[in-house]
Subunit: 440 residues, 2 copies
């Protein structure tokens, strides 16, 4: 949880930096809301038992509830983030951060805007978050559903097979082109020529120069959809250059993304190398963030089919938790799970009342303070508690100190002790424990 | 959500001030874990559909999952908080902050400690949070299950009727003693004499002097359980005096609390008056925080029945959200839902690229900044957006400013504009929007 909170802090502060508000939706949706949105994966949806009332299911992601929420509240315009758990009846793979209950961190921009400005901001956000988290070098693959569809069309794939061929292409990050081609020909009934033609395209990746090259491609540039996609990507690269992140982005024709609802630009961030520390197992983490444009989903929930164009991203936090956790373990770095600044202790017996009075004064002054719940704890036990919990300071009360109107303030790390006048104690604790990053 | 976050901030910072760590448990538990823990209310538990695998239910509160977690991980000692949603198949009453999905904010101290020190801290925490939230004057009623049981025994209630008579007593905050007596005699089969005897006790409330008076009560002080409860309450009041909160606490013999698992001290905070502002409906909010000691619950989940004594509290945040929301509405105070410090704007056309460059510079410097997603937005529309979203500053780019190397910084409230050198812009925005409460 301590690691989780640190990761969330980075993500939330980035979402807020980009002007997003936060929304929340219920953990369950009407069963019918989720029906027909996830293709084959619908079998992984958790249903609630029918105990009377509506038929409900646990949410499978945050995007469909967001689209339902926009349509229901007739919102045409919002920039929001949502961090919450989603549920899948899947086989968990705990070492890779895959669970049946897991967090998603979504940021989406809904509304009718000029092309590619919100899309570019989504990519900027992804880069800012992955850089801040310091989980290693990364690359963001970008493609566009319209380019894929146009490419399939000019290669001679029948319309009805676009989605299933898209799924085959999507496997190229895990298996070789030969295997993908075999699937296209053997299982999905393409001719080897059509498959090879697709292969010529999807094995290409590069920067804006590849976009320009394909804009010159006599066949592809004649396809209306592909042309729109390519022109938008060109514009996107312009904006990404202004945002200073073009070097992180790769136009990759093999990126297809599984979900049906994408309609335009799609993207996926991958770590370039797993952060291998001595003694650490390399992690097969795959993608750590992804997203894209989905202009048709909200309309599916509106009685009049009114569309609200959307573009968004999702950070794969469970995988990121695994990476950060494993790295900290390798470094043998202990993560504090509390923030206590000072333990109120006593060296002699019969000072419980004085300890209670002092700890209460500290709480009321906003200091994070604890005391042992014993009438007469031994000083050694109190110091040990600080060592274990990582508490940096001990405020020690003794008979003599009480007479002199002082408190002995001990640094746990250096074992140095100084007498501090009781009225100065709060300021002294604040001074010694103020976070270094405060820049006012 | 903006109000929710503010309330959570107050609560979490208090929990951390008292040295708590945070834990999380899954939203579902094995069905059998929840069985037999909630008495009559078990019918309100949401079950998941049997789709193969374990039979699961949605959690009904956070206390039973906490006890299950302690037993499962063999923990004998923890101070934790947990803020999460729980689920009840209930009739929602939205104006009173009652929903089928709602948040609980729990703080608990588990472990074998010297008497009443953790219990006193729980009451201190409750008082600190309710004071910080500024939702009006409040009172914390305190009682002890052992005093109630001892009282029932000496009044002549048979053991088997303790819990059901306890439920009758619990209604005294809503209905008159006459009605409660009628229920005890008419429905639950006590003689009028026994009921009257109970009535003599449960209509009393007061401070530590009432504790001392009852310690002199010839019958009650002969009952072992009651005596233990009274002596502990006396000690509790000593500690509460040291914590400076004894004046907020009322020893109230009618406080019984519904849940079965309490074994010692119990408490419940009520608002003394609903915060009525002009034009605001008074709210029937009832209790806003409650808790108590439950020393037997963890043992129910341990194969060897090992007990871990626990004491804790739960803040009724949904009711608090309602109160805060209603008050802000009455004050016609608009709550900002974003934290954006500055809008990057332009006065002329064809400056999208310059806006993108500047907003990117600001994001990279940690400034919360937005721009309109239009190529050539009108200045008026940009200023209107700031008014609506409560953004305090506008950074305006123009041809002349670009030549001069400055940005026009406009205060939305005062409409004053000054030219700021581009390299000083970040510092100037920070200076103008730094929160007043930063005390380093």
């Amino acid at each position: 949880m301590a690691i989780r909170e640190k990761v969330f802090d980075v993500i939330i502060s980035c979402f807020k930096r980009h002007g997003a508000e936060v929304i929340d939706t219920p953990v369950f949706e009407l069963k019918e809301t989720l029906t027909g949105k996830y293709g084959e994966d619908s079998k992984l949806i958790y249903d609630l038992k029918d105990q009377g009332g509506e038929l409900l299911s646990l949410r499978y992601d945050l995007t469909v509830p967001f689209a339902r929420y926009l349509a229901m509240n007739k919102l045409t315009n919002i920039k929001r983030y949502h961090i919450a758990k989603v549920y899948r009846r899947d086989n968990p793979a705990m070492t890779r951060g895959r669970y049946r209950e897991f967090y998603q961190c979504d940021f989406d921009i809904a509304g009718q805007f000029d092309p590619m400005i919100p899309d570019a901001e989504c990519l900027k956000i992804m880069c800012e978050i992955l850089s801040s988290l310091q989980i290693g070098d990364f690359l963001v693959k970008v493609n566009d559903r319209r380019i894929l569809d146009g490419m399939f069309a000019i290669c001679g794939v029948p319309d009805s097979k676009f989605r299933t061929i898209c799924s085959s292409v999507d496997k190229l990050d895990k298996v070789s082109w030969e295997e993908v081609k075999n699937e296209m020909v053997g299982e999905k009934g393409l001719t080897p020529e059509v498959a090879d033609h697709i292969g010529d395209y999807v094995q290409q990746h590069g920067g804006v120069s590849l976009v320009e090259q394909l804009l010159q491609d006599p066949k592809l540039s004649q396809n209306k959809q592909a042309l729109e996609g390519l022109e938008d990507l060109k514009l996107l690269f312009e904006y990404l250059t202004l945002f200073g992140i073009a070097d992180k982005i790769s136009f990759d024709l093999s990126l297809a993304r599984g979900l049906d609802y994408y309609t335009g630009v799609i993207y996926e961030a991958v770590l370039l190398q797993t952060p291998v520390q001595p003694g650490e197992e390399p992690l097969g983490v795959g993608s750590v963030a992804a997203g894209g444009r989905y202009d048709g989903l909200v309309g599916m929930f509106d009685p009049k089919g009114r569309k609200v164009p959307c573009v968004g991203l999702s950070i794969g936090v469970e995988r990121i938790f695994s990476i950060v956790e494993q790295r900290l373990e390798a470094l043998e770095e202990k993560v504090r799970t509390t923030e206590t600044q000072v333990l109120v202790a006593s060296a002699q017996k019969r000072l419980l009342e004085e300890r209670l009075k002092l700890v209460s004064e500290l709480w009321d002054a906003g200091i994070k303070a604890e005391l042992l719940y014993k009438k007469n704890p031994k000083l050694l036990n109190q110091l040990q508690y600080c060592e274990e919990a990582g508490i940096p300071l001990v405020a020690i009360i003794g008979e003599q100190e009480l007479k002199d109107g002082v408190i002995k303030l001990r640094s746990v790390a250096s074992r140095e002790e100084v007498d501090v006048r009781r009225e100065d104690l709060v300021e002294e604790i604040k001074r010694r424990t103020s976070p270094a990053l405060c820049i006012c």
